[in-house]
């Protein structure tokens, strides 16, 4: 078998141009495929991270009916004991309570439906990154009377600027229409333009005063120590505080959770398609090699090389091509993905479009070592399967034909 190995390896380099063409196409296929996949994963992760950091957090707790119609009366039950539990819970890194109402915002230039979120500005810093997303003004530290910060898209739509007033109308728990006036202290811009268009932050104590309810809390946002403990923490909260409903980020925004789930399969489907396309090139090249060497293969069978060894010789020859191409393609991909994983790819030219999907303008590529390993194995499997057709063709050769052709 050692000699068959040796002949197969040397055969790879008999027609250098042809072998190098196949090797190069495999390198480029793997390189471009893995890079594209890493971008897809990076985009998806960024979309998820950005949503979690901007507004979702890992877990949200509400009154079970609150999210159906944002009813002001659907506040969180047993807030004090729940708050105590969350402080003691080891998997919880930090949490923040929020008071939320739906309102109609209006200025001299227009109006828009918004979500008015009352927060404790300092505590909220531990949960979301709105304080880091300020593009104009400050984050609750310069205006004393009912300051508000609003999303950039909303500011543009309502032609609002710093220190301008905004009026918000909502219906209170008695069914009476209330109108409040806030002063713009800052403008934020997150990766999601939808979020920026529909949300206004104000101080929670100001909002609770307006509602005449100093303990009105409609939402608790929680950040866990890591993503792996989220589901267990949700179960733990739900089992202890049955009057409330805790949900993980993937349940609150199912499109993000679903995207995360299917992305794992998409990688292999995408790479599978690329490898199948490459396999046609391999089959074509190896079939040509077999047909060109018809006489030689016939001679080998004439002098006593059995069919099993002829079959292995062609299979080895094909696998050697991929054993040269795959490590180079994967190494190049690894270098490129690692580089752009640190420095990111600037997509600001299509930034607005990406923001509509809640994605930032700098994409960080990402691919796990497990993915590299699995794709290497997938490449070898596809190569092996590709070798079967030319190897089978070689087996069909009649040694007498080779002799007769001389």
């Amino acid at each position: 078998m050692k000699t068959v190995f040796k002949i197969a390896w040397r055969n790879v380099w008999r027609n250098k141009l042809r072998s190098l063409t196949v090797i190069l196409s495999m390198i480029l296929g793997l390189w471009s495929g893995l890079f594209t996949v890493s971008m897809m994963l990076g985009l998806n992760d960024q979309r998820m991270d950005s949503a979690i950091d901007s507004y979702l957090s890992h877990i949200q707790i509400h009154h079970p009916s609150f999210t159906e119609n944002y009813d002001l009366e659907h506040t969180i039950s047993d807030y004090d004991s729940l708050s105590f539990f969350l402080k003691e819970e080891k998997s919880v890194k930090s949490f923040s309570s929020r008071t939320i109402i739906s309102a109609m915002a209006s200025t001299a230039h227009g109006s828009a439906g918004v979500r008015l979120i009352g927060i404790d500005p300092e505590v909220e810093k531990e949960i979301t990154t709105v304080h880091k997303s300020m593009v104009k003004g400050t984050y609750f530290n310069s205006i004393k009377s009912k300051p508000a910060i609003i999303g950039k898209k909303l500011a543009v739509k309502l032609k609002l600027d710093l220190k301008k007033k905004i009026y918000l109308t909502f219906v209170d728990t008695d069914g009476n229409q209330q109108r409040i006036k806030l002063k713009i202290e800052g403008v934020f811009k997150t990766a999601s333009s939808l979020f920026d268009r529909t949300n206004i932050y104000m101080k929670q104590q100001d909002l609770q005063k307006i509602l005449h309810n100093s303990s009105a809390v409609h939402e608790i946002g929680i950040i866990c120590k890591n993503l792996d403990v989220v589901d267990n923490t949700v179960d733990s909260i739900n089992s202890k505080f049955k009057k409330n409903k805790a949900e993980s980020w993937s349940k609150i925004a199912p499109e993000l959770g679903y995207a995360q789930e299917i992305m794992g399969s998409v990688i292999y489907i995408f790479m599978g398609i690329i490898l199948i396309a490459l396999s046609f090139g391999i089959i074509n090249t190896m079939l040509m090699a077999v047909l060109e060497r018809k006489k030689e293969l016939g001679m080998l069978m004439s002098v006593g090389l059995n069919k099993r060894k002829v079959f292995y010789m062609i299979v080895f020859e094909t696998i050697f091509i991929s054993l040269v191409a795959a490590p180079i393609g994967i190494l190049l991909s690894y270098l490129l993905i690692s580089y752009f994983g640190i420095h990111g790819i600037d997509l600001s030219v299509v930034g607005e479009g990406l923001e509509e999907f809640g994605i930032g303008t700098r994409i960080y590529t990402k691919l796990s070592l497990n993915n590299y390993w699995n794709i290497s194995i997938l490449t070898l499997i596809v190569t092996f399967l590709s070798s079967l057709i030319p190897a089978r063709r070689a087996l069909k050769l009649n040694p007498a034909e080779a002799v007769r052709a001389l």
Binding site: T3, E296, M299, S302, G304, N306, A400, R404
Partner: protein, 227 residues
């Protein structure tokens, strides 16, 4: 003692609508140590006959008995193994393995036979020495002349210590000097080692050196003379 016995070999090919009798009732025996040329015009059945006795092709009917084995009854894999251990082949176009050196080409057959490294090395050197290629053992076929390649092919054919060597037009691509050298080598091996050589040829120089000449025409033996 007969090395090869053939009895009533028939083989017909179709060429379009025409049936060609490549072998038509051929019965020839070969003894140990023969140096035989099979001659005849193109299409007379020379190569078909060599293929039949070499186990490369199966006749439509008849027997080919080598070492008390009727090789027409062997299965494909049995035939491959039989050829490996009993028959040496020399082809018109040399047909060496282009990616292996002269030494590796000769060793290849013994590797397949499972010979030890020591015996392979000594026999390879001995054979390449015998065919006058001691200095070229590490050259690949592309670095050798036609005559030198054919001498490597002869060394390869003898490497397995076969019962006999079949050579299909071995000198067809060689100049007169190379032909003469090759014939000298084969003749010497025939004389010294009693190796049986059977050629198909048109080449008068080969015919002149042969001890027995069998002439085929339309698949039939029309003469069988010892000179």
């Amino acid at each position: 003692m007969n090395v090869i016995e053939t009895t009533k070999l028939f083989k017909t090919y179709s060429q379009g609508d025409i049936q060609v009798n490549a072998l038509n009732d051929v019965s020839i025996n070969f003894e140990q140590g023969e140096f035989t040329a099979i001659v005849g015009p193109s299409g007379s059945g020379k190569t078909t006959f060599l293929n039949a006795i070499g186990g490369l092709d199966t006749p439509d009917s008849g027997k080919v008995i080598i070492n008390n084995t009727d090789i027409t009854q062997l299965k494909s894999n049995q035939l491959i193994d039989f050829r490996l251990r009993n028959i040496g082949f020399v082809f018109q176009a040399y047909n060496l393995i282009p990616v292996l050196t002269a030494k590796e080409n000769v060793e290849f057959i013994m590797l397949m036979q499972g010979e030890t490294a020591k015996s392979r090395k000594s026999r390879t050197e001995e054979l390449l020495n015998a065919v006058g290629l001691k200095e070229q053992i590490n050259r690949k076929p592309g670095q050798l002349s036609g005559g030198q390649q054919q001498r490597v092919a002869v060394a390869r054919a003898l490497a397995s210590k076969p019962q006999f060597v079949l050579a299909d037009e071995p000198t067809a691509n060689l100049d007169s000097t190379s032909t003469s050298n090759l014939l000298d080598i084969m003749f010497r091996l025939n004389q010294e080692e009693k190796m049986t050589f059977i050629f198909s040829t048109h080449d008068q120089r080969v015919i002149d050196r042969a001890k027995r000449i069998i002439t085929l025409e339309d698949g039939k033996v029309i003469s069988d003379v010892i000179q």
